[in-house]
Symmetry: C2
Subunit: 478 residues, 2 copies
C-alpha cells in the first residue's frame, strides 16, 4: 500500500493532524507538562487540546476534564497517562471518532506478563474502534514541514531536511535527533515505534516512500514485525530512495539485549543480512558508519561507478584512504593520461602524479581536485586537506584562510553535479573548522580518511544496487 502520490490516509493524521488532543497533559513537570508548551511554540497553539480529569489550566491553556469537553476538530490523540489508564483513554478517543493514537506511556509488553496483558487490551480496543496505534512505549513523530512533533526536541532538530529517521526506541530516537543537527543532518520526518502493537516499520516505510520531503531513510531496528512485508516495501525503495539500516541483535548477546528492551525477537541475523542485501537496503554494523553514510547521501549525487580518486596534502593519509577504498570494494584506478599531463604541467619535480595524488605542500589541491572531478576515469573524489600547524601559521600570516587550501570548493561542487565529492581534515582545530566552513555543508567533511571512504562507498553500494554483484569487502584486520 505504498502511495507514491504522497497521500496515505492511514498515516497522514500522525504527521499532519487537523487537531491533536494531549491526554494526560499536566501541571507538574513531565512530558505532559512540556509537550503542550513545545507544540504552542511550534505554532500549534490553536490546534492543541489538553485533557486531564483534574481540570484547571497549564501554560494558560485550559485542561479539559475529558475528550467530550473538547470542542475543536481532533483527529489525533497523544496518550501520556499511566499504562493502566490507556485502554479507557482509547475508548474515549474511539467514541469521539479519533482514528489515530500515539501511546507514549510505558509499562506494557516490555515489562513482563502484566504489561503484556495490558497490551492485549490495547489491541482489542483499537480493533473495536478501528484505531491505528503508534506505540506504546514510544515518543511518536516529528514532521519538520509543519513543525508538528509529539516528542520534545531541540529547536535545531525542527529545521527541515531530506533525512527521515525511524527508530524503535523513543529514548534512542530522541537522542539521535538531539545529535543529528550537529552533524549537519536535518530531518523531514522522524518516527519512534516503541512496542509496535499496530503501526510498524513497514507502515512507516510505505509512508516515507511516498513522502516528497524524504530523500533518504535511516532506520534503527531490533527486529522486524513482519519480514515478508518488510522485504516487499524495501524492494519498492530499490533505486528510488536509499534505506540505511542498523539492526542490533547481530550476535546472541545483542539479541538478548533487544528482547529485554522492546520485547523484539531479533530473529536469525543471517536472514536479515540476506533480506537487506537482496533488497538493496544498506546495512551498517556501527552507528557511526550509518551516520556518516547519511551525511554523504543527503549532500552528494549518486556515482556512476566505483572508481575513486584521492587528492591529498598528506601522503600517509592518502595511503590509508587507498587501503580503505580497496577494503570497501572500490577501485583506485590510474588517472586519465590527459589528467596526468595537466597535473604535470606546473607541478614541482617531487610530485608523483598518480592516484592517490599527493600534492604535498605545493598548493595544488584545488587544481588536483578540479582535474579529477573532470576526469572521465573517475566516479567519485575524496579530497584530504590537512596542514601542519607550523605551515598553517605561515599561511595565515600571508592573509590566507584554511578554506583557501581547497580553492572554491562550493563552486567545484556546483560545476560537476553528477560526481560525489567528500573531504577529510584533521589536526589543528582552527584548520579543521576552516575546512568545514569552506565546505559549507555542501560537501561532507570527515575527520578520518577511512570515514570519508566508507561514506563514499555507501553511495556506490546504493547506486550499484543489489544485483550488480557488489564486491564483498575485504575483512578488516585489527
Amino acid at each position: 500500500m505504498a502511495c507514491r502520490d504522497g497521500r496515505n490516509p492511514v498515516m497522514e493524521p500522525f504527521f499532519n493532524p487537523r487537531g491533536v488532543a494531549v491526554i494526560g497533559a499536566r501541571r507538574s513537570p513531565g512530558f505532559g507538562y512540556f509537550l503542550p508548551l513545545a507544540l504552542r511554540r511550534q505554532g500549534w497553539g490553536d490546534r492543541v487540546f489538553l485533557v486531564n480529569p483534574a481540570g484547571g489550566e497549564v501554560h494558560g491553556m485550559p485542561l479539559r476534564r475529558s475528550l467530550r469537553e473538547v470542542e475543536g476538530e481532533v483527529d489525533l490523540a497523544v496518550l501520556i497517562v499511566p499504562a493502566q489508564r490507556v485502554p479507557e483513554a482509547m475508548r474515549e478517543a474511539g467514541e469521539r471518532g479519533i482514528r489515530n493514537v500515539v501511546i507514549e506511556s510505558a509499562g506494557f509488553a516490555e515489562t513482563g506478563d502484566g504489561g503484556r496483558a495490558l497490551q492485549e487490551k490495547v489491541k482489542e480496543v483499537a480493533a473495536h474502534y478501528g484505531i491505528r496505534v503508534m506505540g506504546p512505549n514510544c515518543l511518536g513523530v516529528i514532521n519538520t514541514a509543519n513543525r508538528f512533533s509529539t516528542m520534545e526536541v531541540v529547536e535545531e532538530a525542527l529545521v527541515p531536511g531530506p533525512l527521515a529517521v525511524v527508530a524503535q526506541s523513543g529514548v534512542f530516537g530522541s537522542i539521535l535527533l538531539d545529535a543529528l543537527h550537529r552533524m549537519g543532518l536535518f530531518v523531514s520526518k522522524a518516527v519512534t515505534l516503541g512496542n509496535r502493537v499496530d503501526i510498524n516499520e513497514c507502515d512507516v516505510l510505505e509512508y516515507l516512500l511516498g513522502d516528497e520531503a524524504t530523500e533518504v531513510v535511516m532506520m534503527y531496528l531490533e527486529g522486524t514485525a513482519d519480514g515478508r512485508r518488510l522485504r516487499r516495501v524495501l524492494e519498492e525503495f530499490r533505486g528510488v530512495k536509499p534505506v540505511l539500516v542498523l539492526k542490533s541483535g547481530r550476535t546472541p548477546a545483542g539479541k538478548e539485549a533487544a528482547l529485554s528492551h522492546t520485547g523484539s525477537m531479533a530473529g536469525e541475523d543471517a536472514l536479515y543480512d540476506a533480506l537487506f542485501a537482496q533488497t538493496g537496503a544498506l546495512r551498517f554494523s556501527t552507528l557511526e558508519d550509518m551516520l556518516r553514510a547519511a551525511e554523504a547521501f543527503v549532500s552528494q549525487p549518486s556515482p556512476r561507478g566505483g572508481r575513486l580518486a584521492i587528492v591529498t596534502t598528506s601522503g600517509s593519509l592518502g595511503a590509508m584512504a587507498a587501503d580503505a577504498a580497496v577494503a570497501e570494494g572500490l577501485e583506485v584506478p590510474p588517472l586519465s593520461p590527459s589528467t596526468v599531463e595537466e597535473m604535470r604541467r606546473g607541478a614541482p619535480g617531487w610530485m608523483n602524479v598518480r592516484n592517490p595524488l599527493d600534492v604535498g605542500p605545493s598548493g595544488l589541491l584545488p587544481k588536483g581536485l578540479r582535474a579529477v572531478m573532470e576526469d572521465p576515469a573517475v566516479d567519485m573524489v575524496l579530497g584530504i586537506a590537512v596542514m601542519p600547524y607550523a605551515v598553517f601559521r605561515e599561511f595565515k600570516a600571508m592573509g590566507a584562510t584554511a578554506g583557501g587550501l581547497l580553492g572554491d570548493i562550493r563552486r567545484l561542487r556546483a560545476e560537476f553535479p553528477e560526481k560525489p565529492l567528500a573531504l577529510c581534515s584533521l589536526g589543528e582545530a582552527e584548520m579543521v573548522e576552516g575546512i568545514k566552513e569552506a565546505a559549507g555543508g555542501e560537501v561532507p567533511v570527515f575527520t578520518s580518511p577511512e570515514a570519508g571512504v566508507k561514506a563514499l562507498s555507501s553511495l556506490w553500494r546504493f547506486a550499484a544496487g543489489p544485483t550488480a554483484g557488489f564486491r564483498v569487502p575485504v575483512q578488516e584486520r585489527e
Copy 2:
C-alpha cells in the same frame, strides 16, 4: 640493544642534546625562521646555535656563517638547507664532532633517481664520520620532558603524557600532534622518521622501550626497514608496553601509494599481519580505531579477562554495544547472582536486571556502574550515559548536572584501580560535554557504543597476549 635502564647513547642526543645547531636558520618565513623562535620559547635559547652563511641575526639571535664559528657545546645538528647542500653541511657537522643529525630537508629518494643519488651521498658522509642520521624528509623529534622539539607544534602538544608517537612521515606526524591534545592524549616523545637513511623504527622502539616517560607506543608505518629486527624489538615490548600499529599498504593501491610517498616497500601485508599478531603488537585497520585504543591505554588499567559488563540508560545503545563486544571477541556474561540481587533491590518493576543492564530513566546508572565494577564476574565496564534533551532539561531545572547522571565517576575509577572503565555519550551537546567534564580525562568518553567497546577490547588484546588464543573477531557486515 634495548636499554632498559633508560640510557641509550646513540639515541639520547636526538631527544636530550646538550646543544643544538640549526643549519639553515633564516630571516624569511619558513621552518628555518620559526624553529629558532619555538626553541627559545621552549627554554632552549642558550643552547640553540643558528647557522647561515649570510650571517646577521634572526629574532635577536646571531646567525653564524658556519658551524666553525659556533662556540657552544653542540651534539645535535638540525639541517634545514636545500637537499643539494646537505652532504656538505653534514661534513661540517662531522668535522665539528657532531654525531647526531636530523635532516629535515626533502628532495631525496622520494623524488626519484637524482634524489636517490643524493641520499646515497648522505649515507657515505654519515658512514665516514660515524654520524647517526634521522631523516631526510622528516621533522625529527619532540621530547615533552625537556620541551625539546625539532618540529613546531601547538603549545598544548608539549604537555607531557605517557604516549609515544612514531610516524614515518613528517607531515602526518605533525598533524597527529596538532590533533592528539584535543583528544586528551599527551605525549612523552614523538619521532618522524622520513626516508630512514639510518635511524629507523627499530632504533626508536628500542629507545622507547627503555624510556621511563613512555607507557604506550603508537606507530604509523608504511613498511619496515628491517623485518627481523622489528620482530625482535616488538617481542621485547610484549607484556611490557603496548605497541599500537597502523600500517598502510594493506591493499595493492595502498602499497603503491606508500611507495611513491616515502619510497617504502610495503611488502607482503600478510607477513606484517603475522609479525604483529605473533609479537603481540596491536594492529589497527583505521586511524580512528588506533586513536581510540590509545585513549583507553593511557587512562585505564589492564583487564584480567575479556568479560564486559554494559550499564546503559538506552536499551538500543546497550544492544549495539553488546553486538560490538561479541564481534570484537569479548564476552558479555551474566552478572553474578549477588549483583543481580543488589540491583533488584529498589529497582522499578520494568527493569530487566541483566547484562547489558538497561537502567533507563531510573537514575540508577551510578548504582549499576558500582555494582558491576564490584562484580567478580566482570573484567571491564562500559557505561552508556545518554538522556534525551527533554529529560535533560527537567533534570537541569531541578539543579542537577549532566555529570550527576554518572555519580562520582572519578571516585569510582579510583576505588577499583584494576578494572578498566569507559563511557559513551551522545545527543544534546551540553549533556555530552557535561559527561566529558565529569569524567575529567580519567575515564575515556566515546561518542558511539562501538567505539567504546573497540577501545576496551584492545586492552584485553594486549593483556591476553599473542599466545592466549584471542578469538578471531566476527567479520563485520555492512
